[in-house]
Every structure is written in structure tokens, then in C-alpha cells.
């Protein structure tokens, strides 16, 4: 086998051409990791939301809370079910909630759909991660709302601002965080919002807190067995996973299509570089063969060179992609058609995928030139100037 130092030193020797190729593959990797970071961030936003011991109940046949609606009687039946926990104050650990979509203007002047959630007092008890970062919680009966911190930034909403929601005007009294995808929502009191949207007495969903994930599964069975209810029940993680798949799946498809198209172009760049390397080193190849190196050693050496170039380009692209991590952005939830804000996540998986894509690009780009280098006749190679 030809010493490996021959391979990597040759890359440095012709560093100008090698760097151009490295950069062209590197930027493909950057785009690919960027799209995966979008999908990863979106998935994480949903994944952070679910508590496996919380059961979410919606009307049968609906995919999202905003499509669901049922009357107060059903909600009462649900909260009275065995297996629903009690809060420290002795109340039922449950929250009947109503969800509507409202159009808001973003800071950049464009419009977006925002999910407005009416929450019962139990809603805080079953979401212990809920945290007010500025201002305070809303108080029932006073026309107050709190806004997810990341959403507030995108809408330019501050504590003290007022907005019309339905028939009434509501005042922002706090910003909150710590509840995953809910961070893209506006919360107010169930009765206040229900009254403003003329939905009093109707619920979009009911959240029931069970003692444990296993107890939650039992509770789901109990809900399903109740003949008087036409509802479906699933754990929170299951519910958000469904939304996540629909939304992040589109990014993944887009990312893969983009990556494949760009990688094909980068393959040609890699092949061009390697063909240039082979042409420039024809006499060297002839010499190596004359010294006794076999065809497969020559092929292996050039192939390794292309792979090294690909791996280096992958690393370069991954480095370029690092600053993308934690960038705040938003998109439309493809199930609820409302704004969802999230942070890009350049996960190890996204980084590894990018480097893998670059390596494959190097492999495919280097294959033909390496094969060509090994097939030439020694006498022809030695004649090259």
C-alpha cells in the first residue's frame, strides 16, 4: 500500500484546488445541516412539550386541539374519572382548554396565525415546567393574557401591551417559557377567552394528569371504555409526536432533495479535482507502478485522497454550521396552521449526517478518477511531461 503521508501531503501540495473543492462540498454540508437543524429544532420543540403521565382528550376523529370541540358534560365526565390525580390543594389535576387561532402581525409586517389557549387553573398544576420570565400570571376575570417569550419576540409584544381577541381587549401581563411548543402560544383564562370567542361551555381538549406514565395508559383505556363519550385519548408525547412528524417531515424531505441535488454538483467538483490530480501526477503514478506498486494500490491511494477531501469538507461544513445552533426561528405548524417558534438544533446526528454526505460525495467523485489512474499503461504514464 502506498504510504498514507503520500496521500495527504498531495492534498496540501495542491491546496488551492483542494480548498476550492473542500469549500464547494463544505457549503453543501452547511445547507444540509441547516435544514436538519431546522427539522431537529422543530422536533425538539414538540418533544419538550409532552409529559407521558398527562393524557390529552379531544373529540373523536380530530387531529389537533383546534379542530376539536365538545360540551361541558363530557369534560365533567372526564375529570371525574378514576385515575385522575389530585393537586396539592386537593383539586382535580386536570385542565379543560379551548384553543383558537388568531391572526397577528409579526415584527417584519407579515401576518401569522397564533394559537390562543384558554386554560383552567389546573392547567398550571399539570405543567410544572411553566415559568413566568417577566411580569406575572394572568388572573381570571380580568381580561389578562400571558405570551410565550419566543413568540412575543417575533410579534413585538411586551408586558403592558393590549390586543383585541374576539369581542374583548386583553392586556399582556407576563411572558412565559418552559413548556416547549406552548412557547409559541398566548394563554388566558378559559372563561375569559371562552366568553370573548363565544365558546363558553365548550372545550377543545381536556388534560388529565395521571400518577405515572403507566397509570396514564390505564386512564386512556378507561376513557375509551366510557360509552357516553365520543372522544379520543392519547398521551401528550404521542399527540406532539404526530404534529412533529407532519411538520419536521417536510423539512427532512426538502433537506434531502436539496442535499442530493447539491451533492451531485459537488460530486462533479470532487471528480474534477481528482481528475486534475491524476493528470498532474501521471508520471508519478507511472513511477510508482514501475517501482512495483500494484494497480489497486494506486487506485486505493487516489480513492483515499478523495475520501479525505470529502471528510475534511464535511468537517469544514460542520464548523460553518455550528453557529446555526440555538438560532431562534419560526414556521407554521402543518397540523394546526399556527406559528410555532423554535431554536435550530445542530445535533450530533445532523453533524454526522453532513459529514457522511460529504464523504459520500468524495467517494463518488473520486471513484472514476481513481479507477482511471490505475488503468493507464505504465509506458504511457512515464511519457507524460
Amino acid at each position: 500500500m502506498i504510504p498514507i503521508k503520500y496521500t495527504y501531503r498531495n492534498l496540501f501540495e495542491r491546496r488551492g484546488v483542494a480548498f476550492m473543492t473542500l469549500a464547494s462540498i463544505g457549503f453543501v454540508v452547511l445547507v444540509y445541516i441547516g435544514v436538519l437543524a431546522l427539522a431537529g429544532g422543530l422536533r425538539a420543540a414538540f418533544a419538550d412539550t409532552g409529559d407521558p403521565s398527562v393524557v390529552i382528550v379531544m373529540r373523536d376523529g380530530t387531529r389537533a386541539e383546534m379542530e376539536s370541540s365538545y360540551a361541558q358534560e363530557s369534560h365533567r365526565l372526564l375529570t371525574a374519572m378514576p385515575g385522575v390525580e389530585r393537586t396539592a390543594d386537593g383539586d382535580v389535576a386536570a385542565s379543560g382548554e379551548t384553543v383558537t387561532i388568531q391572526i397577528f402581525e409579526r415584527v417584519d409586517g407579515t401576518e401569522t396565525n397564533v394559537m390562543v389557549r384558554g386554560v383552567e387553573p389546573g392547567g398550571f398544576a399539570i405543567r410544572p415546567a411553566f415559568e413566568i420570565t417577566e411580569g406575572r400570571r394572568f388572573e381570571p376575570g380580568r381580561g389578562e393574557i400571558v405570551v410565550g417569550r419566543s413568540l412575543a419576540g417575533r410579534l413585538g409584544l411586551r408586558v403592558g401591551d393590549e390586543r383585541e381577541l374576539g369581542r374583548n381587549t386583553f392586556r399582556v401581563v407576563g411572558l412565559f417559557t418552559g413548556v416547549g411548543a406552548h412557547g409559541s402560544e398566548i394563554w388566558g383564562d378559559y372563561r375569559d377567552l371562552g366568553d370573548s370567542f363565544r365558546r363558553s361551555g365548550y372545550y377543545s381538549s381536556t388534560r388529565l394528569k395521571a400518577a405515572s406514565p403507566a397509570a396514564a395508559r390505564d386512564l386512556i383505556e378507561t376513557v375509551k371504555a366510557e360509552q357516553r363519550l365520543q372522544v379520543q385519548a392519547l398521551t401528550e408525547p404521542e399527540y406532539y409526536e404526530l404534529q412533529s412528524e407532519t411538520s419536521s417531515g417536510q423539512f427532512i424531505i426538502l433537506g434531502n432533495v436539496l442535499a442530493v441535488l447539491m451533492a451531485v454538483g459537488a460530486c462533479f467538483a470532487a471528480a474534477n479535482t481528482m481528475y486534475a490530480q491524476v493528470a498532474a501526477r501521471a508520471r508519478e503514478i507511472g513511477t510508482l507502478r514501475a517501482l512495483g506498486f500494484k494497480r489497486r494500490s494506486i487506485m486505493g491511494s487516489f480513492f483515499l485522497e478523495a475520501v479525505l477531501l470529502g471528510v475534511a469538507a464535511g468537517g469544514f461544513g460542520a464548523l460553518l454550521a455550528l453557529p446555526l445552533n440555538a438560532i431562534q426561528t419560526g414556521t407554521m405548524n402543518q397540523v394546526t396552521f399556527s406559528e410555532i417558534t423554535f431554536q435550530l438544533r445542530t445535533t450530533p446526528f445532523a453533524m454526522f449526517s453532513g459529514i457522511f454526505l460529504a464523504t459520500i460525495t468524495g467517494v463518488l467523485g473520486g471513484l472514476l478518477p481513481a479507477f482511471g489512474a490505475s488503468r493507464q499503461k505504465i509506458t504511457d504514464l512515464l511519457r507524460e511531461a
Binding site: 504510504p3 508519478e284 513511477t287 507502478r289 512495483g292 506498486f293 512515464l382
Partner: protein, 234 residues
Amino acid sequence: MAETVVQLRDVTKNYRRDAFELKVLQGITLDVEAGDYVALMGPSGSGKSTLLNLLAGIDQPTSGELIVAGQQVSRLGESKLALWRQRHIGFIFQFYNLIPVLTAYENVELPLTLRKSSRAARRKRVETALSVVGLQNRMKHYPRQLSGGQEQRVAIARAIVTDPTLLLADEPTGDLDAESGGEVLDLLGQLNEQFNKTILMVTHDPKAAARAKRLVRLDKGRLVASAPGGGTGA
């Protein structure tokens, strides 16, 4: 009686160019014995380099028998031929053909990496070869940091480091000034005289040819004369 290292019997080599067949070598019969130092002369296009390539096993004869180092070279497959080459042939090129990204030491070590030997054993051989050519103090230099004459001496060290049966030199002084060329010829003579290396050298230069023990002339692909050379090798 000395062992015969090269045996050529009625060797021909033809190349096909479009509809024409080019007869580059015709009926070459030649013996070279161990320890011999043969200069191969002839005008351009007479087939010298082709003959050298056949002897090195990097080209195949069209017909005839070609035995080098006891092996019928034309019967070997690609892979075995590569193995045979690294055991028996040391090649010295006109333009040195050193690998630019490797140091003098690494260039000389290159053929040894094809063998199973320890790093220490390789080091000993490389240092010996470089000291034979007088470049033990240039081991870490890259080819671009060496003069033409030094590069050719490194190339000679690379050719002898495996202790091959036959040294083939293709115009070894063709790219050098007179002084450096003289040094290279001194070195080849020394290898022949002191180390009993069998050398076959293609050259245009009568002064170089005069250093050989035997002179072989080629013209239009035929061997036209074989006579004792002027030199004793040294």
C-alpha cells in the same frame, strides 16, 4: 562462469498506429551476465527505451523469449509482474521521477514499504543506500530542495535500496550538467565495480557509454553491433 541475468531471444515489439504496424524492435537477441555494465546506444527512435521497458517488465514483447533474472517475464500476470519488478528491477529515470511530496529518505524507503520488514530494518537499508550515493546528510530534504545531480543520486539510492538483480538506467545523465553527470556516472561505475551490480544503461552520450564495459548499438529496431566498451565500469 557468471550467471546470465538477461536473455533475449529473437524479441520483437510492434505497435499498431491506426492502420499501420510500427516495428520498433526486430529480432533482438542479447545476453547480459551478472556484474556486466552495458551501454545501449542508438539514434532517437531506434528502440532503446522500448527495449529497456521490456526488460523492466513494464511493456510486453510482441514475440520472442525474454528471460530476466531467471523469469520468463511475458508469462507473468499484472500482479505478479509488479511483485517481480520490486524484487529484481531498479529503475533510474532520465528526469529522476522522485515523488515531490516525499523527502529523500521517504523516496528511498518507498520500494521497501512493499516488503514485510521492520521500520528499523528499513531505516538501516535506506541510510546505507543514501550513504552509498553520498547523501546521508540530505535525508530530510524534499526533491525541490535538492540540485538535479542530488535528485538523480537519490533516485539511484531508491533503485539500489532493494538490492535488485538488474539496474536499468534510462539516460541517467540526460538532464544533468557535465559535472553532475560525471558524478552520476562515477556512482554507477562504483556500483558495478564495488557492489557487482548488473547495469544496463540507455544513453546518447558517448562519454557515458565509454564508462560501460560493453557497448550495444541499436538502429531501426535492430541490434547492429555489440562490442566491449572503453571503461572498466569505474
